[in-house]
């Protein structure tokens, strides 16, 4: 099946061309994000000047968690989010979906892939450097088996995030203002940059299920530091499979609704 790689290659080509047109914008956007990143580091340093640990995590561990979360989010964002975001804003309302649905291509895939967002790249590089830097600092705590499991969990997390975001985007089939929901998810997800343990006991189960932001940073980082157990791994896999089916269902029923009353 060479079709989808070809399509994606062409989309990347087009994105690169767009980047050339909007270089300046990108630069501004990129530097804006780096400021945000520095702001976070500054904040963490203030917090840790007052305390030794946050939910049982040291300063360097929290920074590692932050970099893992930002990397996972950034990778998914630069490949998928913009397409879904635009879909949730105008796909159904303006009938932009029509032009996808008449084509011999999986609509959901084309929408998710259609707009890579290179704006996050400079920021991504910066975070990757931070991540590696933290790994060096914490290398005493790292073991190959843990790294392996953590990598696996990291990929699961990306899957969860993608399916979650993609399911939320289908709200556009049912409500006109659904892009708000995506924005809400983005805001909530920002809380994934802290150890899940700092949240109230009653809230924690939700962070592993309904709003599974624990997976975005906490879970893979826990495995990396050797703090995850098998139970957590099974939950991760379970949530991944669950979110896959939820996403599938959300798109099928959304498209069904669209086909019975689009405009």
């Amino acid at each position: 099946m060479k079709k989808y790689p070809r399509i994606y290659f062409q989309i990347l080509r087009m994105t690169a061309a767009l980047m050339m047109t909007y270089r300046l914008n990108l630069l501004v956007q990129g530097s804006f994000m780096i400021v945000y990143l520095l702001g976070f580091l500054f904040l963490i340093n203030i917090v840790f000047s007052k305390t030794q640990s946050l939910g049982g995590w040291t300063r360097d561990e929290v920074i590692l968690l932050f970099s893992v979360y930002t990397l996972i989010w950034g990778i998914i964002e630069s490949f998928f989010f913009e397409g879904l975001r635009q879909f949730s804003i105008s796909g159904v309302k303006n009938g932009d979906l029509d032009k996808v649905l008449t084509k011999p291509v999986n609509a959901q895939l084309l929408i998710s892939f259609s707009t890579p967002n290179p704006a996050t790249t400079p920021h991504e590089v910066f975070v990757a450097v931070l991540f590696i830097h933290q790994l060096f600092i914490l290398h005493g705590q790292l073991y190959p088996a843990n790294v392996l499991v953590a990598t696996f969990a990291g990929f699961c997390s990306m899957g969860i995030l993608f399916f979650l975001y993609s399911s939320y985007a289908t709200l556009a089939f049912h409500f006109t203002n659904s892009s708000q929901a995506l924005r809400a998810l983005e805001t909530i997800s920002d809380n994934a940059q802290y150890p899940t343990k700092i949240y109230p006991q009653w809230l924690q189960p939700f962070l592993f299920s309904l709003i599974p932001i624990a997976f975005l940073g906490y879970v893979p980082t826990s495995f990396l530091l050797g703090r995850g157990d098998w139970k957590l791994l099974w939950i991760t896999i379970g949530v991944l499979i669950g979110s896959f089916f939820i996403n599938q269902f959300a798109w099928e029923s959304g498209l069904k609704k669209y086909s019975s009353a689009s405009s």
Partner: protein, 337 residues
């Protein structure tokens, strides 16, 4: 396989097709909004109400009707974008809303009001994306693209950012993007909307040429009489979701377009009064120095000659009645029968 409903060799077949939309009525004002929270009143819009027809390979059929008649809704059902409320549809032997890739590779839907090209990039990039999506082989892509670019004379503009193109140039590129995979069936929903007369003509010629060159079957909707008259032998007229005519276009023109419209402009310094015009035909509008009169189709030329001889006419134009007028007449004649 779907039960075959195609009568001999038709390429598109519709039987008792219906599409009802449920739209909810909100009462005005704040109270209305609050009430609608627990009690919503629905109203049924019969967008397409029991339409049947068959279309044969190579035909160009004009699908005409007033605003809201149900044209776009029908085309969307033919393209598999909408499920019908009831009835049967077959296009190229497929059930459109199964959305089978084998089907989708053989047709295209072009909507004049919507665009599929990437706005900030040259159209060429969008062509390449469609090439990948439709899996068009390199050689065929090049050949088709060359031919289409020649027919539309757009060699230079396909490498310019789409947002810098004029409406007409953009429409040309939209058409190319839609036709690169050589569709056998083409649904054109108001392809000439908003274009000037010259550009309309260019697109018409192109559609005609495409039909000839590739033997494509085309359904075309348009509000411009010129489009339909020049392109379509056959016309289907719908009104409020019902089919009210299906047959040779010339037949309705002869039967219903009994009048032509004479648009006159008089010389400013002279004066002409309404009464003077009434002996020539039915005066539709009069606001000196302009007037429009309806005259019998067969006598249009003669009357125009007389007018020029007897009155201080600066300019005269003989026009066909608009599609809307003809539709209204077909509709009225059916209801007085």
């Amino acid at each position: 396989m779907v039960e075959t409903i195609m009568s001999n060799q038709s390429i598109i077949s519709i039987k008792n097709l219906k599409k009802y939309f449920k739209v909810y009525k909100k009462k005005p004002g704040l109270m209305g909004s609050i009430q609608s929270l627990w009690h919503r009143e629905y109203e049924e819009v019969k967008a397409v109400d029991d339409i049947s027809f068959d279309i044969f390979p190579g035909e160009i059929v004009g699908f005409i009707g007033q605003n809201g008649a149900g044209k776009t809704t029908t085309l969307k059902m033919l393209s598999g974008l909408l499920y019908p409320s009831s009835g049967k549809v077959q296009v190229l032997g497929f059930n459109p809303w199964d959305r089978k890739p084998e089907f989708q590779k053989q047709f295209a839907l072009v909507m004049g009001q919507k665009n599929q090209l990437w706005w900030d990039l040259p159209a060429m990039e969008s062509f390449l994306l469609n090439k990948a999506i439709y899996e068009v082989p390199d050689a065929q892509f090049k050949k088709t693209l060359d031919k289409l670019m020649d027919l539309l004379e757009v060699r230079d503009i396909v490498n310019i950012q789409v947002r810098k193109l004029s409406l007409g140039q953009r429409m040309k590129c939209e058409l190319i993007a839609a036709l690169l995979h050589n569709p056998k069936v083409l649904f054109l929903d108001e392809p000439t909307i908003g274009l000037d007369v010259v550009m309309q003509k260019v697109l018409r010629d192109f559609i005609k040429a495409y039909n000839k060159e590739f033997g494509a079957t085309i359904i075309l909707t348009s509000h411009y009489m010129g489009d339909v008259k020049e392109l379509c032998k056959r016309a289907i007229i719908i009104d409020h979701g019902h089919k009210i005519f299906d047959g040779e276009l010339q037949q309705i023109i002869d039967q219903y377009a009994v009048n032509k419209i004479l648009s006159l402009t008089f010389e400013e310094e002279k004066s002409v009064i309404r009464e003077q015009l009434e002996k020539f035909g039915e005066v539709k509008e009069f606001a000196f120095p302009k007037a429009t009169i309806l005259v019998k189709r067969t006598e249009a030329a003669k009357v125009a000659g007389k007018l020029l001889a007897e009155l201080p006419v600066a300019d005269v134009n003989i026009e066909e009645p608009s599609i809307e007028v003809i539709i209204r007449q077909v509709f009225e004649s059916q209801h007085t029968k």
